[in-house]
Each structure stands twice: as structure tokens, then as C-alpha cells.
Amino acid sequence: MANTLSIYFNSILRSTILSRAMIFAALGFGLLFSTIGAYAAKGPLPMWFSFTYVVFLFTAIGGLERQVIVGSGAYNYLIKYAGINPIKLILALFVTYVIMSIVFAPLILILLFIMYYTAGNLILSINVAILSSAIVLSSVFTSALGIILGLIMIGRLIISKIPIFIFYIPTILFFVSIFATPPSASMYNPITAMEILLAISWEKGVMPYPYMVPMSSHVNVMIPVITILVSSAILLLISALLLKRVREVNIYDVAMNF
């Protein structure tokens, strides 16, 4: 069984990282938002990096969510008749997306650097440790979120239009969080906490710029870190409980048949 899972993991890791859709999304978001940030909005680079990267992550996990739903029939078959461990199967998907998210971060960063440099706005003051941690934590949280959204959707909605909508659910969740979270709670909402952590990693814990996520004037780095870690752990635990849903009716299957 370990061999089956390692073949599957290698296959999806290769195809996800080399996926034209992922590369296009990273390049597209990187170029679009860095141009807006550097030339139009003239916002600080940290703010635009955190926004660009998080939007990219939430778009990417739309694909992960869809992958869980579309693949649920095959997962069901492999778990039930080939004895594949469901937790390890889902972990293979989770780790794939964590690695992919980390791999694409430098590409987006480079695009932003280039654009800000050409616009003459490049001011660097990077805390590498916080930035790296922020990228890893954001990747872990969004991947866990993509898995759980996919598992929740399996077998629940059988409206034929829903499959088109699935891809956009994480992005909608992201924008709702940004606009609906009050400043006093923004460090406790993992989605806004991710944005905050990514942004402050550039300024050693201080955020002197006006920022699109409502937040208090001083940020204790540990609060968003703990918020993201605890939320990711909870999401993964609930995902383990939701794994039985893999055995339920595949909504794509139903949508295609009725």
C-alpha cells in the first residue's frame, strides 16, 4: 500500500507544481497585483505581497477543493477495495499543496521585487525568519482549508450548477473575512491573521503602513502564529473525521447523471 501512495504522491506533486494553471495563476496574480501595487495604488510592498500571495493561495485551494470532490469516487474505490489508508491518502494531497504553495512564493516575490524596483519604490527590511514562517504557516492553513471544504462538499449538494461554483468558494471566504472581520478580532481569524503575519514579516513586528486588513496598531507576532497553527490543527482533525464522506455520492457523478 505504501508503494501505491508514494506513486500517487509523486504523480500529483509533479503535476501540481508543473501545472500550467498554477504557473499561469502565480505569474498572472504576481504581475497584475505588483503592477497595481507599484504603479497605481502605490501601496507598500509588504501589503501587496501578502495580498497577492494569499489571493494566489486561495485560488489554488479552489483547485484542491475541486480535486477532493472529483476524486472522491476513486478515493472511495481505493479505500474500500484496495485497503488504502484514507488519512494517508488525504495527507498526500495536503502535503502536495503545502509544497506547491511554498514553491510558488519566491516566484511571486521576485515579480513584486522587479515591479517595485522599476517603479523606484523598493525599500527592503526583511525579517527572513518571520517571512519564511509566514509562508509555511499560510501554506499549511490554506491547504487544510481546501481539504476540509472539499470533504464538506462531497455528497452534500447535488445541484448541477454547483461544480462550477466550487472553485470560487475559498476566494469568497477570503474576501468576506477581509471585509467582515473587526480590527479587534483580525488576529484571531486565521485568514486575516495570515495576511497580518505575511505583512509584518517585513517590518520586524511593526506595521507602519495603512493596511487593507482592519487591525490594531501593534501586533504581537505570536497571536497570529498561534491562531494559524491552532486553526490548521483543528481543520486537519475535522478532516480526519469527515473522511467517511469520501464514501458518499460523488456530486459530479450525480450532476452528470441527473
Binding site: 501505491t4 503535476s15 476524486g71 477495495y81 455520492v249 460523488n250
Partner: protein, 260 residues
């Protein structure tokens, strides 16, 4: 052996499948027109659709309660859609998972030369060939094949018939068909009919070529079934109805639903 009791599958308050009692003891064919419930039946046996009531046992194992490791395999496409996985990896994954002989399976898969690298990009016939070979080569007690010959070239149909016969000596195979002419390839198999989500049978496949379908309930009927709300009987040839040997595709019955 597959044993089904009081099975009902309901979607959107509509009963799409109803099997009061059916036992598939041997290699079996389920013959029915398009939309009669063949695929729904197989998907329910595999577990892709949840039944509203009833039990399904495969080799004495309740598929919804007991461990089902290596119990059955199927060629239903849903079982092979692993997004982001290339064809060559898919073969390795399924051969490793179901303990099949990868070299022999790859040799048969090479009968098709797909240009695409992912399953969803293959043509319908290529997908059918690919999934059917993987299902046949899986080391399981039962293999369920949904319309295995559909959209295949005649040469592939011939080869697949040979392969199915080869594996039918090693494990039980249940396949669905809507083409009557292919029945002659499986003379000694049990034949079940399915109309409007109800399973009827069984008779031996070879017997069907000496039978005809007549409207109404005939006292000499070997089997009666309901089709589009009307009752029909399967009787021995007597010149009263439509001889089955003259029907190439069971779906033609839709065009002749008033048989008289």
C-alpha cells in the same frame, strides 16, 4: 456470488432502481436499454450510490458493513478519476493497489495509442478499454463491467471477449450490455434483463435466441416484465411476437413499445 435483497435507490424523490431479490451466482450479463438502470445498479453495488434500503452481499460480505478488501473491481470511470495523475502513473497506482500483473496489463493497454496523457482527455472508447483492462487484471473475487464493449473498435471487441473469457475462469464477472448480438459470445452465462430500474431473470444466454417478446402476460411465458408501463412476456418462438435474434440492440424496444 452477488446477492441483492429489497434494494431501492432514490434520487430526488424518484425511485431509479428497485430490486426486490436478485442473485448473481455465476458469470452474468445484465441486458437492458439505455437508461434502464444498468449503470446505477453497478454503481450501487460498488458503493458509489447509497441505497435507500436493502442489502447487497458480495461473496457473503455485506459491502456496507464488513471489510471489502480485494472483493471487487469495476470499470466504472468514476473509480479511476484521480485528478492530476497521468495515465502511466494511474496504471502503476491501480496495479499496485490491486496486485495486478503490470507487464501484462501494460501490454494490453498498448492496443490503444492515446495521444493524451490524462484519463479525462482520452476518447470514450480509449477510456473504456483502459478502465476495463485495469478492472479485469485486478486481483479481486468479482469484477463488474459496465458496457465494456461500448465505443470499441471491432478488433478491440474481439480481443476483449477473449480476455473476459480468460478471466471468467478465474473469478466471477458481471457485465452489462444493451447489444443483443454480443450475447452469442457468452452462451453459457446467466442472462438478466433490466427495464425501468427493475431486474428480471435469469435464463441462460444461449436460450434467448430461440425466444420472442409478446405483448401482455402470456401463460407460456418464461419471464414477464414491465416496460414503459406495459406488460410483456418472453416466450419460446411461436411466430406471435418479435424474435429476440432480430433485435440487434435492446434499445430498439423503445421504438416498438406497442409490440402488437
Amino acid at each position: 456470488m452477488i446477492s441483492i435483497k429489497d434494494l431501492k435507490v432514490v434520487f430526488n424523490d424518484r425511485v431509479v432502481l428497485s430490486v426486490p431479490n436478485a442473485i448473481f451466482n455465476n458469470n452474468s450479463i445484465i441486458l437492458g436499454p439505455n437508461g434502464s438502470g444498468k449503470t446505477t445498479l453497478l454503481k450501487t453495488i460498488v458503493g458509489f450510490y447509497k441505497q435507500s434500503q436493502g442489502t447487497i452481499e458480495v461473496d457473503g460480505v455485506d459491502i456496507n458493513r464488513a471489510p471489502t478488501l480485494r472483493l471487487l473491481s469495476t470499470n466504472i470511470e468514476t473509480a479511476y478519476i484521480l485528478p492530476g495523475t497521468r495515465l502511466e502513473d494511474l496504471v502503476k497506482i491501480y496495479c499496485s493497489a490491486f496486485n495486478c500483473n503490470i507487464k501484462e496489463a501494460q501490454q494490453l493497454l498498448s492496443y490503444i495509442k492515446p495521444k493524451a496523457k490524462e484519463l479525462w482527455k482520452l476518447s470514450t472508447g480509449e477510456k473504456k478499454w483502459f478502465t476495463t483492462i485495469l478492472a479485469l487484471y485486478a486481483d479481486t473475487k468479482v469484477t463488474l463491467l459496465d458496457e465494456p464493449f461500448e465505443d470499441l473498435d471491432p478488433g478491440l471487441v474481439r480481443k476483449l471477449v477473449e480476455e473476459i473469457h480468460k478471466f471468467s475462469r478465474l473469478k466471477q464477472i458481471v457485465l452489462t450490455l444493451h447489444s443483443v448480438y454480443l450475447l452469442k459470445e457468452f452462451n453459457d452465462w446467466d442472462l438478466f434483463f433490466i427495464f425501468d430500474g427493475v431486474v428480471y431473470g435469469s435464463i441462460k444466454s444461449q436460450e434467448v435466441f430461440n425466444m420472442e417478446i409478446v405483448a401482455g402476460s402470456d401463460p407460456a411465458s418464461i419471464l414477464t416484465f414491465k416496460f414503459h408501463g406495459e406488460e410483456y412476456s418472453l416466450v419460446k418462438n411461436g411466430g406471435k411476437g418479435i424474435p429476440i435474434r432480430e433485435i440487434s440492440d435492446i434499445a430498439q424496444l423503445y421504438a416498438r413499445s406497442k409490440l402488437g
